[in-house]
Each structure stands twice: as structure tokens, then as C-alpha cells.
Symmetry: C2
Subunit: 324 residues, 2 copies
């Protein structure tokens, strides 16, 4: 089976590729060839038990998607995106990659006359405030960011191209991924990782929102699990509503830091400084807090059950089990 990962150089993409290389299969089907693609050529993972090709390019350029699916990969993971903060500032760039790019990928598949499984990473940013206490699966999509609008349009196209038999799509609305390893990215949600990651690494971190701010999380490990589960999911079972809100952990920023205190002690938790930033606060105020995620759970998607568990996964996966 041939697999294509678009956006393979990103954090979730890299972790997905690591896991594919380790397991060598998806849903008991042996991977024979893996194509990695990003704006910069992703690391090629020479230790993988299958052929790995690494490509770079401009995802939204005309003809690019056609090039990517030339060998008709049976499974395509589409993770490429301009993240929320950047899409908010770079209006054209966000629309070009997140909407035009996704549409062109679907059109390329239509032209290629085969029907791959396409796993599309959408986001809970397709929802916009005001929200009910727990957001049901049938809550409307009124995004308050350009990123959320672009993802929501991508979902709609995925659904229609699936209904028309052009592609076999599954859209997964990822919770905010925390704790992200490495450097902060341009996402407005970056601090949701920083306030855990930096203190654990012995560094001070700024929290730009009030401790009472609640949000919806899953670990990078859970995100990779969602992607693999979506790749293997029975499309008939998913039905025509192909975009699913992933399960996650609902926690306040204050609760996150208290979980950090329980896991790593006062010295670590006290490295968080509280410095409200009105620009970040205004963006985050439009974000959802708690989801029901009933359909996705019923379809077998699994997330962590507490933020403490999320922190322990970070320590295990990124810090070799050790705290500075």
C-alpha cells in the first residue's frame, strides 16, 4: 500500500511518519511506499521498512497536487496548513494554502480516476463563540478566524467530493494539540503548550490569558492515533457526515498548571508567569471549550482522560521520562 503525507515536516506529521516507520503498516495492510511532502523536504526516515520519498514544493501551485498523487497512493494524510495566527495576519496565504490547496488536491484526485482514503486534518476552530456549556456534534459552524473558515470550507468540499464518489474522505477536527514539543510556532494557541513545556525544561513561560480560560486538548500521541484510526475507518460506518469532532480533555489554563504542579512539583509550576495579552485573549475568547464528541467516540477515536495524563505523555515521549 502506498501512503502520502502532505505536511509531513510539521510536528504532527513527523510523529505520524515515525509511527508509520515503526509499525510498517496501517490496519494490517503493509506499507510498500511512503511519500513525504512539505514546503521544505521532510526528513526521509531511512530506517523505515519501506521505500521513502521526500518531496518539497508549493502545495497550492497549479499541477502540484497532480504530481503528488501520480503514483496513486491509497491513503493520503492531508496535514498541510497555514496555522491560525499566521492565517489571521497573512490573509491571502491562508486562503491559498488552506482552501485553494485543499480544493486543488480534491480536483487532482478527481482527475486521477481512483478513489483514495483522504484523511483531512480539520480543527475545532470551525466553531465560534458563543457556545453552549458542552458543544454537541450537531452544533453549527460559525468560525471567528480565517483559519476556521478555511478549514470549514475544506470540510464541506471533502464531504461533497466523498458523496460524489470522487474520494473517500474523513475529516478530523483536532483539539488543540498540547504539549507540542520543540519551538513555539505561529499559532495563537502556542501558549497552551508553552506553559507546560518550558517549565518542564527549566525555563520560565508566559501565560497570556486568565487562569479561568477553558479549552479542549489532546496530546500529539493521541493526534497520531486519530490519524491512523481515520485512515482505517470504515467509510460506510461514518456515513455522509464525514467530518468528526475528535474527543479530548476539557481543562482550564489554571487547571493545567495545577496538573503540572501535581506531576512535577511547585518549583516547575511556579515558572509560569501570568501576563494577559489582549490580542491573544481576543482570539482565544472565540474558541470552544468542551465538546461532546459522541460520534467520534462511538466510531472508536480515543483521547486522554485528564490533562495530567497529557503531561505524563509529554514527559515520556519527549523528555525520556525525566523532568529538569
Amino acid at each position: 500500500m502506498r501512503v502520502l503525507v502532505i505536511g509531513a515536516a510539521g510536528m504532527v506529521g513527523r510523529k505520524l511518519v515515525q509511527r508509520l516507520a515503526r509499525e510498517g503498516q496501517i490496519n494490517d495492510q503493509t506499507i510498500t511506499q511512503l511519500t513525504l511532502y512539505d514546503v521544505v523536504a521532510p526528513e526521509a526516515h531511512r530506517e523505515a521498512p519501506f521505500e521513502v520519498e521526500s518531496l518539497s514544493g508549493d502545495f497550492a501551485a497549479e499541477g502540484e497536487a497532480e504530481r503528488l498523487i501520480e503514483n496513486k497512493p491509497e491513503i493520503i494524510f492531508h496535514l498541510a496548513a497555514i496555522v491560525s495566527g499566521e492565517a489571521e495576519v497573512e490573509f491571502d496565504k491562508g486562503y491559498r494554502i488552506n482552501l485553494t490547496g485543499t480544493w486543488r488536491l480534491l480536483e487532482a484526485i478527481r482527475g486521477a480516476d481512483y478513489r483514495p482514503r483522504l484523511v483531512f486534518t480539520s480543527s475545532i476552530a470551525v466553531f465560534g463563540a458563543p457556545f453552549p456549556t458542552e458543544i454537541p456534534d450537531d452544533f453549527h459552524h460559525t468560525p471567528l478566524t480565517s483559519y476556521g473558515v478555511q478549514k470549514s470550507c475544506g470540510e464541506l468540499l471533502l464531504m461533497d467530493y466523498t458523496r460524489k464518489g470522487i474520494v473517500d474522505g474523513i475529516g478530523i477536527r483536532l483539539p488543540t494539540i498540547s504539549v507540542r514539543p520543540g519551538k513555539p510556532n505561529k499559532a495563537a494557541s502556542g501558549f497552551f503548550s508553552g506553559i507546560i513545556r518550558e517549565p518542564l525544561a527549566g525555563v520560565e513561560a508566559v501565560c497570556p490569558v486568565d487562569p479561568s480560560v477553558r479549552h479542549w486538548f489532546a496530546s500529539p500521541r493521541a493526534a497520531v492515533g486519530f490519524l491512523l484510526h481515520a485512515a482505517a475507518l470504515d467509510g460506510e460506518q461514518a456515513g455522509p457526515r464525514r467530518n468528526l469532532t475528535m474527543p479530548g480533555v476539557s481543562e482550564t489554563v489554571g487547571g493545567m498548571v495545577e496538573a503540572l504542579r501535581r506531576v512535577a512539583g511547585d518549583q516547575v509550576a511556579d515558572r509560569v508567569r501570568w501576563e494577559p495579552d489582549p490580542f491573544i485573549e481576543s482570539i482565544v475568547a472565540g474558541w470552544p471549550t468542551t465538546f461532546e464528541a459522541k460520534r467520534a467516540r462511538e466510531l472508536g477515536f480515543k483521547a486522554e482522560s485528564s490533562f495530567e495524563e497529557i503531561i505524563r505523555i509529554h514527559i515520556e515521549d519527549e523528555l525520556g521520562g525525566k523532568i529538569s
Copy 2:
């Protein structure tokens, strides 16, 4: 005030233009110039109390939207669309006009550096079955037709371009308009008018669905009222959720024919023949039946209160008060 009507040759467009010509103003602002646009040049209404320009062209062509807004119309009615049945068969054409065209219009406005009121006619086709008994305003958008997907993407773009201060948009999700005068169009919903219009004109009509099929309706007169109310609406009052489900009348096909019987007698009502068509039935099965439409009613949008009233309006507006 300058006004532009895109899609002015369609049924609702023509009725809107008639009313603008009659009233000469919108919301107490005198209309000084009206531009009509469609794929074929609309009738120019020489009796109007303002200058009328009639243009034709390909709405989705590059540069076309820029041409249309060259004189910076303060109010733009965007009614142009490939209707549901045609968009379902003509995949490229539907996406090109309904999505690319709408997006290009928004981009042209962005480039023109002014902020008009844009009234966008969306549709209840943005919703897809299964539905609750009464669909609330915050029900999710899972359209089951390409037309519904295209309208839903248009709504999302309208919302984002409004949020960014590029345009001052109001999207109105029209109920199925009944009774449409004139010839049937390619919409799968055509019979919802035909089973009233043809019998009233002394002609037999075929109903391709079961009498129990329920749907959501407003008259052409109400549709024009929605458009004018949307043009005058205070954007601040509408808030960031700029797409509104219009009020309407929920009625079954059987109930429609019974209303016809009450208004026009057995001889007229018996002109309806019941001949189920599986293709039409499968499309209509995914359509919504009853909406709450709470926000739109609160914002002052008004529809009829019964299907009988809708029939009487048709007789008044189209048949000079007389029944064949």
C-alpha cells in the same frame, strides 16, 4: 445610492427589480442608479425613477466582478446561482458560478477599497438530513447536495470577509420559494410550485413525491421582502453570525394540495397527479422540513403564516386575482 443586482434575470431578481423601480428607495435612501446583471441581459425597466443599466456576462470570469462594482454600488444583491438540480449534474459549472464566482466577487470588493452591504442569497440546502423535528438556528451544516456545499462555503466566506471589515455582508437562507410563476426551472424543487401553479392555470401537474413529504416555504413576495430587509439591516445588530435562516411556512405536499382545494375547489386540486420519481425523492429526502428561524424573526424578517396565504399571494400577484 447605487444598487447592483447580480442574477437580476432570475425570478426573484426580476421581482426585486420591479419593487425597487416602484419604490425608488431602500430604507429611506433614494436609489440614484441601478445596475442589473445576469448571464443574459436583464430587462432594463425604463419606467424606473432612476437610471438603469443592464449588463450581461460570465459572472465567474476573471475581472468580471471588478467590472460590476466599478461604480462602487453601496448595496449589492448577489442572487446569481446554478440551481440545485443543475449543480448536481453539472459539477464544474455549479462550483464555478456558486463558489468561485462568489469568492471572486468578495475579492473584487476587497480590491476596490470600499465596504458595501452585500446581500447574499443562500439556501436551506446548507442543511442535510437527518434533522430534528424543528431545526434550531445553531444546527450544523452538512449539506447533501453540491449546491448546498457551494452555498455553505459562500456563507463562510461572506462571514469572514465581513469580520475582516472588507464587506458588510448579510446571508439569507431562503426557504423553497413557492409558488414560482412561469415555466419550471432546473431546480429539483420545481414541483413544489408546479403542483399549485399548473392546476390554477387549468393544467395537470405531476407530484413526484409522497403526500407526507414536508418542506419549508415562502412566497416570491416574501423573498423580495427578505432581500430588502437584509439590505437595510443594522450589521451590528446581526453580529458576527451573518447568515440567517429565513422564516417560512412548514407544510406537507398533501397539505399544500388541501390548501389549494380550500382556496380553489376540488376541480383545481384534482389536477394534481401523484407519480413518485425515485431520483427526485432521493434528493428531497435530504432536505429540511421545519425551522425555528428565531434569530431572523427577532431581526424583523417576516414570512407568510400558512400555505393558504402563499397560494392567495400567487393568485393576487400572478393571476390578477383570478382562477382558471
